[in-house]
Every structure is written in C-alpha cells, then in structure tokens.
Symmetry: C3
Subunit: 212 residues, 3 copies
C-alpha cells in the first residue's frame, strides 16, 4: 500500500478501506477478551499496521510507514474505537468484513511485494515480503489475544497471499504492463480468497498426537 | 532514560531504580509460572529492557542501549535473580513496588520521548515512542508468561503514559525551561498513576460475546 | 553458521543439518496443535531461522541471512513439510533429533558469537548474541504454539549456550588458534548438552504462589 505509484489511486484508497476493516475486526477480537478501550485501540493499530511493520523491520526498510505518516495510527485507532460503539452492527456485517479483509490481504500483499522489489530483493524474498505484509498483522493479534494464530490453523490465507505475490512478481520479471498486471493480480487474488471462503477450501491439517 | 542530559542525575538514578523494580516484579511473574533460574533472569532482562528495545528497533535507533552498555543486562538479570532469594519480602512490599513501577512508567516514557525528539520525529511519534518505552516491556512479559497482556485489559497505564508524553512533548514545542518541565511532567505523571492505582480508576471495558 | 569462515566446512554442513532438525521438530510441535500444511512449513522456517533473525534485528546486522540467501527458507520449509509425511519415524527417532538439536544449539551459538565479534561487540554482547541465535527460535515456536517457552522452564539449554559462548569468545580475546578452539568449543558444548539431557540436569526452579 504505502508505496504504490500515485496513479494507483484506487488501490491506495482500497488500502485505507482494508486498514480500517482489519482494525475493526481486531477490535471485535479485543472485545472477546474484554480488553479496555485503550487496549482495543492499540490492538486495532497493531493488527492493521503490524504486517507492514514486521516486513520493514526484517528488510531494514526505515523509516516505518506509520512513523513517517502517523495518520495511519489515527485511522486504525479511531476505526477500532468506533467499533466499540457499533459492535453489533459490525458483527452483523460479518460477510462484508470478510470481503474487506480479503481486499486487504491482496492489496497488502502487492504493497509488500512492491517494497521488496524497490529494494531489489530476489523473487522468493519479494513473495515472502508480500506474505508477511498481508498476514503477519493477524498473527500479532492472535498472539496478543493468547490464541494459536489462526493463520497457521485454518483457511487458505497465506497460500492466497503466496499465489498473489508470485503472480504479481512475475509481471515485473517479464516487464509487462504494470497497470494491467496490477488489476489482474488484484482480481485473481480476491477471487481466490473469496472462493476459498465461500467453499470453505482448506489446506489439509497435520494432526500429530505423539508424546513430547 | 538512556539519553537524559547529564544534569538530570536524579532522573538517571530513578531509571536504574525503576529498571530494578521492573525486573523484580517480572521475576515474581516468572515464579508463578515455575520458571527455572535462568528463565527468571531472562524474563527480568526482557521485561525491564524490552520496551526500550522495541522502540529502538521500530525507530531504527541503533545501537540498542543494552548493546552499547551491557551493564543494563547485569543490573536487571541480577535484580531478577536476587528476587528468587527474597520473593516473600518482595511480595510483601507490593505497595512499594507499585510506586517504583509507576516511577518507571513515567521516567521511561520521558526517556522514550527524548529519543524520538532527538530523531526529529513528529509529535504523535514522540508520544507513541514514550508509550512503547514505558509499556511494551510488560506486554512482552505477559506474552512470555502466556497471558493476555495486562496492559490491554486493566488500569490506566498506557493512558498515563500518553498524557505524560503529551505534556512532556508540549514543552519542547513551546521551548519552555527543560529542567522545570521535566520535573513538572514527572510529578504529573506519577500523581496520575498513583491516583489511578489508589482509586482503582479504570477505562471502560469493551466486552463482546458474538461468535467468531 | 552464516558467517563461518569457509574453512569451517564441517561446521557449515552441521549448521544445515541442525536447521533441518530444528524445522522438523518444530513441525511435530505444529502437528500437536493441528496446524495446516502451510502453518507447519511457516512454523518450521520461523523456528529454525528465528534465532538468527532476532539477533540480526537487535544488532542492526542487515541484510538478514535468509533475505540474502533465501535457500534457507526452502531448506527449512521443505524439511518441515517432509516431516508431515514421516511424522511417526521422526517421532521414533526422538533420541537422534535431540542430538541434532544439541548440535544446532552449539553451532548456532558459535555462529551468533561470530556475528557479534565481527561487529566488535563487547564480551557480554558476544555471549548474548550467541545465546539469542541458539535459543530464540524455540521461544518463537512456543509463543506461536501458545505455550510458556520451554527455554524458561526446563533443561540446561540457555546455560549450555552461555558456557559455550563464553568459552568460544575467550579464545578470541586470547588470540588462540581459531580452528582448534572452534573444535574444542564444539566438543565442550555438545558434551555439556548431551550430559544435561542424559542425566536430566536441570536448573532449580523458582516456584512462587503469591497472589498477584
């Protein structure tokens, strides 16, 4: 997100929408743990901005986007706070939030790939960078809520991010039309994710009960 | 703490006292989880120094204070170890430790603001930097003890840190007398925190029971 | 590992073996939490590479080894995935994996010391750098599996790493024969760790039941 070319205004807008949506669903998770208002806002910020932050720290890509542009903190913190007031409605709009979250996954993945591409990282790192940006915020949320991260247990989430990143990064290798390819990647990633939600596609689980 | 001007000897001393106090209360938390002696010392170091470490990593402010001055590791590790021997007494002095912890919260917050101010960060980042320095160590402690962080659930802790940081940073914007303002901020922050403890001030909680 | 002089081919090979072993035991831990295949691979990567990553982030030692050489990601991810297919056998070979893990502890510790020595860090930081490299991956694994880190609760693990690091770093201070000292350190560390496993040496635990 934070480094999309200025022509990608739509993607840029979508990334704000997705940040808001992630902060709001994180606020609901905070509510399930009976956090106080300050905790809700902090968890919203950490969840929405955590993926990009971990990516930047791992790649040594300073300053962090929210340090450079603190309005991200305001946006996500306020979104989480508003959720406290309208929790029932947010919960009822669950389906809409799943779509917004899916948009976030795809947009953040592309933004993460962009950052790595600008740093001339190799293809695997570009993809990992996209995946971390798209997925790591939710892992932080689950750690702070004292859960085993959902990312590791269920749904095609990381996988969608990897496929999206692979598809997106390929275009840069092949020097294709960037605008077109961005749109195609977005459509592909979003479709994949929504199909995965709709038909409950899941990875096989590895269940192992041996004693330690 | 680590960057206070040399004239602020009192604050500097207080920061050592606060580091010690944080390591000692972390050691009690480790004892509740039956950690071994090495684990107790590690948890003491991580809790006391973790806030400043996370701040420096997020701001790209290298080298970290304890890398530059490893005596911090010795101080906090030894403080945690000594706690094993005098756990009952430490526990009995609970009220004293609450005051020492409150001092730590305020002193660390001001130190965190200082670091961000020296890096010419914007006001919101100065305040966030103070809050992370004051609060994040306890979050690490709770994660490592497998709890939902207390910071997100109870007490005016982050809020006191934010108010303290806001008050402190304002002085820099207004070019007021630094010494005087430091003392005023310290008194304000400490008073707020102690009142919050005394009268059990709490933020409202957000309790949400909707299914996932 | 990642920065051993090229003559240390044996150590270099051992480090690959140890990375593989750590990823495989992490995969078993993932299986106990019923993670899906993608989660298993991610947990394998994070556990095996996490210690070196945390060290590099704390020391500001960029780029990270796996960013520079993404084959580490492939190695550990594939090792974790293969474990899904041969979980029973891996579990049965528990004793062998304990030895491989012990080798990893010692080799990673030395590699971590090397990195800090190259950055002209002070002796305590050299030892801490070795300990983080050797131990922190397991802490990340336990956090992500929602356990209190085993490192803090049981076995001589961190302690072996500290003794190994101390012994290893001393040689640099004394300008002894590097090759000889490396071998000696390796033998010392491995022996210590294996004895600790064999005779169930443990640190005393600090058990504290006072109310919060």
């Amino acid at each position: 997100m934070w480094n999309l070319p200025p022509t990608d205004t739509v993607l840029h807008l979508l990334s704000y929408v997705a940040l808001t949506a992630q902060a709001m669903t994180a606020a609901l998770a905070a509510g399930r743990r009976s956090m106080d208002w300050a905790g809700v806002c902090m968890l919203g910020c950490i969840t929405a901005l955590g993926g990009g932050t971990i990516r930047d720290v791992l790649l040594g890509h300073y300053p962090l986007m929210w340090v450079q542009n603190p309005s991200y903190l305001a946006l996500t913190g306020i979104a989480a706070f508003v959720t406290i007031l309208i929790a029932r409605q947010v919960h009822r709009l669950n389906a809409a939030f799943l779509v917004l979250d899916a948009i976030g996954l795809v947009v953040f993945t592309m933004a993460g790939c962009d950052v790595a591409l600008q740093m001339n990282a190799s293809l695997p790192i570009v993809i990992v960078s996209g995946m971390i940006t798209g997925c790591a915020g939710g892992v932080l949320r689950d750690i702070l809520c004292n859960d085993v991260p959902l990312l590791f247990r269920a749904e095609l989430y990381a996988s969608v991010s990897i496929v999206t990143g692979l598809f997106y990064a390929t275009a840069f290798g092949l020097n294709l039309n960037a605008q077109l390819w961005t749109v195609l990647t977005f459509v592909l990633g979003l479709t994949l994710r929504l199909l995965a939600i709709r038909y409950k596609w899941e990875m096989p689980k590895f269940v192992f009960n041996g004693d330690r």
